[in-house]
């Protein structure tokens, strides 16, 4: 049995790798059909991902909010909820972080944690509402979170315009003391926008793993996700756990927004369209099989490909949308792991 588990784990590791390769091969075929040189295209893509210190820095920067968004989605998923509202939670988190970063002047050691906390609280509240409605009125969280996305989009813009406006469709810049950016990291990576946020993303990944797998609270959250009746029977508070799960998920998403506000940008735009990071988070979570470690890898792949796409366009003239196609195919192949699993099983069977 143990042996079987072990080999199952290896297969689980092999699948995404396999899927990524298949996705890239399919991408190459599309490039060929489109009249582009795949070798050149992929060289450019690779360089754009990790070809230089700067590329690595940018890839890590892009990964950071994706990890957090992925964790937000995965956390809800693991507890039986589907949070499509990461996008909106991210936006309110972004705004809150920027607001704290701009409105206060504090020592860095207090300012950054405070700004991130504000983002987590804001995102948490944004997740709390659909959680509450789900728990109390059995309203489907998918609709509420979709609606909450739009509400976040329009209210954050309005709030910036009303209270934080610096002209040019953006808020005031945050103070230096709240910034995650660092000249040291920048010079290390040749002026990339790498910032300290990645540390928070890793911490969040550990927190999620620990919370879900090592604590009694996580035990409850998952149990409620699997079977509400049995959880109630076992003395758990079903309603409170649903609400808590959505709030925690939202808090992670809020921190993702803080990464944009305190790290990459240092301000917030008055957006009139979604950033897309929240939706990417769904893909990252699923690609990473909802596990903390998997999400980090998936975010690396995702973030890397996305930052490298313009490079590929620049160097090899391949439209950057190709990357989106490749990502879609990789997700599809991972999702259809059934066939890969079957294939690997057969291979290993024949090998014996």
């Amino acid at each position: 049995m143990n042996k079987f588990l072990k080999s199952d784990r290896t297969i689980n590791m092999i699948i995404p790798v396999f899927a990524a390769i298949l996705g890239l091969v399919a991408g190459a075929i599309i490039m060929l059909l489109g009249g582009y040189d795949p070798a050149y295209g992929y060289e450019a893509l690779f360089n754009g991902m990790i070809g230089s210190p700067k590329a690595i820095g940018e890839t890590i920067r892009a990964m950071t909010p994706l990890i957090l968004a992925g964790i937000a989605v995965a956390f809800a998923f693991k507890t039986g909820l589907f949070n499509i509202g990461v996008e909106g939670q991210l936006l309110v988190g972004w705004l809150s972080a920027v607001w704290v970063g701009y409105a206060f002047e504090l020592p860095t050691m207090i300012h950054i944690p405070l700004a991130i906390l504000a983002a987590a609280v804001a995102g948490g509240i944004w997740g709390f509402i659909p959680g509450l409605l789900k728990a109390r009125f059995k309203v489907h969280e998918v609709i509420v979170t979709i609606m909450m996305n739009y509400i976040a989009l329009y209210t954050t813009s309005a709030i910036i315009r009303e209270f934080l406006y610096a002209g040019n469709e953006k808020s005031h810049n945050i103070h230096e003391s709240a910034s995650l950016a660092s000249p040291m990291l920048a010079s290390l990576t040749n002026n990339s926008r790498l910032h300290y946020g990645i540390i928070f993303a890793f911490i969040a990944a550990i927190v999620m793993w620990f919370l879900l797998n090592k604590t009694t609270k996580g035990f409850e959250l998952k149990a409620v996700g699997f079977n509400q009746h049995a959880s109630h029977y076992a003395g758990m508070n079903v309603e409170r756990n649903i609400i808590l799960s959505m709030a925690i998920s939202g808090a992670f998403a809020g921190v993702a927004g803080a990464m944009e506000g305190l790290g990459t940008f240092g301000y917030m735009n008055t957006l009139s369209a979604f950033t897309g990071t929240g939706f990417d988070g769904i893909a990252v979570a699923l690609l990473g099989a909802n596990s903390a470690f998997g999400i980090i890898l998936a975010a690396f792949l995702f973030g890397g490909l996305k930052t490298a796409a313009p490079q590929m366009n620049f160097m090899a003239d391949v439209p950057s949308e190709l990357v989106e196609i490749v990502i879609a195919l990789i997700i599809l192949f991972v999702a259809s792991s059934y066939i890969i699993r079957w294939f690997v099983m057969r291979l290993s069977k024949e090998g014996k």
């Binding site: 509402i129 489907h140 609709i143 309005a158 196609i325």
Partner: protein, 319 residues
């Protein structure tokens, strides 16, 4: 400005903008009634918009005013085929249905722009010459009051969408096909023991969602956007999904919810020109439709019962 004037402003606009949502939500009903979650409605709509515009552009010189209608038809077919990706992955290969739907969205977004760039050498198309125009329904539009409210300045597609909701209600609740489709979404194993081919029914469900989401996208493109670009479809598919859930997976309910969205939307937009409402801050008006939806759900619509087997791949003999 009289109350009637306000209604005349709001209702035709609601009918106009709700049509694409209705079609798409109806597509969602088919898929989810068969037990397959379809979060890929957004992608299907997007691909439908792309196909509709592309076809219209290609045919308009020879077919003239018929070309957008042909475009809608082609979009239906192409998206039925496109939706097969979701079907194969989630039904045959037993992929997580949410994942494969998300993948479909990415694929549609990437592929459509990639193709546009490849075919036209630019990131968005020209405008189509012939649209699905707003019409005054003959005779009916002459009825006092009602005529102006409901039968003027609305494209034919809106009426088709509303009629279709009833047709689909009939199909799903009154015909053997509908009974089988629903049984597969509620209890596939039971259906299987009754000799119903679960896989086939689910394929049909997903492909019909492709057909109608494709139509929805094409209707949006040919009646409202009139060209295709990266942002032409941005979120409408998710709204349609929400409408379908709001409507409790019922065709007429989904239509009603889509109309509700349309109405709330047009009220909020038009509100800026209506005296009393004018003084409300813009942002309140802008978010009103979404807040109203949440309130409606929490207040009186209450719990939605999803098809029981929704989201679970069917494996013979598994319990």
């Amino acid at each position: 400005m009289s109350f009637f004037d306000i209604l005349v402003l709001i209702i035709p606009a609601a009918l106009y903008t709700a049509a694409p949502l209705i079609f798409t939500a109806l597509g969602g009903v088919f898929s989810e009634r068969s037990g397959v979650v379809n979060i890929g409605l957004e992608g299907l709509m997007l691909f439908g918009a792309f196909t509709g515009i592309f076809t219209t552009l290609m045919l308009q010189d020879s077919f003239g005013a018929a070309s957008p209608w042909i475009g809608i038809g082609v979009a239906a077919i192409v998206c039925a085929i496109f939706s097969l990706i979701h079907a194969v992955a989630s039904i045959t290969l037993k992929a997580d249905q949410v994942v494969s739907g998300v993948a479909l969205n990415f694929l549609a977004a990437g592929l459509s722009i990639f193709l546009i760039k490849k075919i036209f050498g630019k990131g968005q198309t020209d405008f189509i010459q012939f649209r699905i125009d707003k019409i005054d329904v003959p005779i009916l539009s002459d009825i006092p009051f009602i005529g102006e409210l409901l039968f003027s300045r609305v494209p034919a597609t809106s009426y088709i969408a509303i009629l279709l909701a009833f047709v689909i209600w009939y199909v799903i609740y009154k015909t053997p096909f509908g009974l089988r489709l629903r049984s597969v979404g509620e209890h596939p194993m039971a259906a299987d023991t009754m000799g119903i081919n679960v896989t086939r029914m689910r394929y049909i469900g997903v492909m019909l969602s492709g057909v109608f989401a494709g139509i929805g996208g094409a209707v949006y493109a040919t009646s409202i956007a009139t060209n295709f670009a990266g942002g032409t479809i941005s979120g409408q598919g998710f709204l349609a999904l929400a409408a379908m859930i709001f409507g409790k997976w019922h065709p007429v309910g989904a239509m009603g919810a889509a109309l509700f969205f349309g109405l709330a939307q047009s009220l909020s937009i038009t509100g800026a020109q209506i005296p009393v409402i004018q003084d409300i801050p813009t942002v309140i008006l802008t978010i009103a439709p979404y807040v109203l939806t949440i309130l409606a759900l929490a207040g009186f619509v209450g719990r939605a019962e999803a098809p029981k087997a929704l989201g679970t791949p069917y494996e013979k003999g598994k319990r």
